[in-house]
């Protein structure tokens, strides 16, 4: 049952200030420290902490380089890509934000990489060469949000059927008006 917009707060999603709460554990603190030292190699990136996750915001151009750096450098060792998420901020900030959650099994720490993409042409280099688990996550992002990935062939849709029009993950998709019959 589609929910009608009942509360006035949700009718206009104003950008509120996010909570500033830092709750890192010991491993997180160490990671934060060494990240701050190394991040100067990658200009244009910012580090922040969101509850218990160290987050790095970078440009899409440097994504593949940073991912390789984070995977193969000894002190980071992020050998496991957990999840690739796409958040649609098209209406307010006109970006799609891609979030890569990385976890190091060996060193027991985790972090997130955020990549803002322009919403009129969301293109990002593929990290398939770095972690093979990115394969289906990228295909899903392509199906549901229309993100284009450079450096890999566009395969047939994963979750939707061939010939599906539109990107149902986006906020602009008429989800509640959508009717197939």
């Amino acid at each position: 049952m589609p929910m009608k917009e009942s509360s006035s707060i949700s009718s206009k999603r104003e950008i509120k200030a996010p909570i500033v709460r830092e709750d890192l554990d010991q491993a997180g603190e160490n990671l934060h420290k060494i990240l701050k030292e190394s991040i100067s190699d990658f200009p244009g990136s910012e580090i922040s902490v969101s509850i218990d996750m160290v987050t790095v915001k970078i440009d899409s151009v440097q994504l593949a380089k940073i991912c390789e750096f984070l995977k193969y450098t000894e002190k980071f060792g992020f050998d496991y890509l957990s999840c690739i998420t796409v958040v649609d901020y098209e209406k307010d900030q006109e970006i799609f934000e891609m979030i890569y959650h990385l976890i190091s099994i060996r060193l027991h720490h985790k972090m997130a990489i955020k990549v803002p993409l322009p919403s009129n042409d969301p293109t990002v280099p593929s990290v398939l060469g770095v972690w093979k688990s990115a394969d289906w996550f990228e295909r899903e992002a392509h199906d549901l949000f229309g993100i284009k990935f450079e450096g890999r062939e566009n395969l047939p849709p994963l979750l939707l059927y061939e010939g599906f029009e539109g990107y149902p993950g986006r906020k602009s998709y008429p989800f509640h008006d959508y009717g197939e019959w």
Binding site: D25, Q26, A27, L107, H108
Partner: protein, 379 residues
């Protein structure tokens, strides 16, 4: 042959067919009940008293189902395949004696006739696989052909060894020859080979990979429904009964029993009942094996057949023949045969992959990992 003889033969053949069908119906129910007991549940128990009428309900359902013909199937081959599987199985029954006087036609070349005719059913499976116009059916059919033809060799060799031991192919004479000791005692290796090869010939677990293609439905039978499928089903159970009866006839003494004080018709009835009891025991073992074991893959199955059963069956024949040639006492066969049976089991065990479970899977205590983590964090 004059008219009354022909009519008499026709009547006896119909009686045989009726008997076989009844037995098969009872077997379907028996299998479901036996499997259910192994799996800690009751089998069918609603239709009739404790489920006795279940097979009739099944038969009625199958006969009234729609017979689907796939559009691109080869019609003639598709319809003939069930018959080609059923008929050879039934033709064998012409010469199988159930009691001293109960046989349709006791041929002198009884065993030879049985082995020759039973191979024909392989062609039926191939026809079913090809005529279905379905890739899975074709793969299943080819697998079935490979498996059945490979296991014919140890099957026939085991039968041949019995023929050498009894010095005859006539089934009645073979049973009469077991008046003192059943051949199972003289040839335990032969019994093992015959039962295993027989299970493989039937296509029963653990050798049922060819019709468990997508792991339940299938193989050559996947496109059949209704009455035609029921013919395949009948053929499988009839063959099960045949293999059990042959085991009892050739190895377990047929209708011979230590005590048979009766004579005349009463003796016939008593020996028939004793025979059926023995058959029921063998069938129970076959069902038991089905309920317990998983199935082998086709290449493992073939490797087992060719590398273990075929050499064992040759050794069996050689042993029997040499003992008879040199007129040694028959217990020599028993002893050496048991030795070879032990050697067979030893080779199976040696190639086994069972080892200590802790070899590959170890259990690491969480406290160790937590200690490791806290050490790392401090560092």
């Amino acid at each position: 042959m004059n008219m009354p003889e022909i009519v008499g033969l026709f009547f006896k053949a119909s009686l045989l067919l009726f008997f076989i069908l009844m037995v098969v119906l009872i077997l379907t129910l028996a299998e479901r009940k036996a499997l259910a007991r192994i799996q800690q549940r009751k089998g069918p128990n609603r239709v009739g008293f404790k489920g006795i009428l279940q097979p009739f309900a099944d038969a009625l359902k199958l006969l009234t189902k729609e017979d689907i013909l796939p559009a691109s199937a080869n019609k003639q081959i598709f319809w003939v395949a069930p018959l080609a599987v059923f008929l050879p199985g039934f033709l064998i029954w012409v010469t199988i004696p159930l009691a001293k006087e109960v046989v349709l036609a006791n041929l002198d070349m009884g065993l030879f006739y049985i082995t020759a005719i039973s191979v024909l059913s392989v062609m039926g499976l191939l026809m079913a696989g090809w005529g279905s116009a379905n890739k899975w059916a074709m793969i299943g059919g080819l697998r079935a052909a490979g498996q059945l033809i490979s296991y014919e060799i140890p099957f026939i060799m085991a039968i041949l060894a019995i023929g050498i031991l009894a010095q005859s192919f006539n089934l009645k004479e073979i049973v009469d020859d077991q008046a003192q000791w059943p051949f199972a005692i003289k040839q335990p290796l032969g019994l093992f080979i015959f039962l295993t090869a027989g299970l493989a010939e039937l296509g029963r677990t653990p050798f049922d990979i060819h019709h468990a293609e997508s792991e339940v439905v299938g193989g050559p039978f996947v496109e059949y429904s209704g009455a035609h499928w029921s013919v395949f089903y009948l053929a499988e159970y009839m063959n099960t009964f045949t293999i059990a009866v042959l085991t009892v006839l050739l190895f377990l003494g047929g209708w011979q029993s230590p005590v048979l004080p009766f004579s005349g018709t009463v003796q016939t009835v008593a020996s028939l009942s004793w025979f059926l009891i023995k058959t029921a025991l063998v069938i129970w073992v076959i069902f038991w094996i089905r309920g317990t074991y998983p199935r082998l893959r086709i290449d493992q199955l073939m490797s087992f057949g060719w590398k273990i059963l075929v050499p064992a069956s040759f050794i069996n024949i050689f042993l029997t023949a040499s003992v008879l040639y040199y007129a040694l006492p028959h217990w020599v066969i028993t002893v050496v045969s048991l030795g070879f049976l032990g050697a067979t089991f030893y080779f199976i065990k040696k190639g086994s992959l069972a080892g200590n479970k802790q070899d590959t899977v170890t259990i690491i205590n969480s406290s160790d990992i937590r200690a490791q983590l806290s050490n790392k964090a401090e560092v």
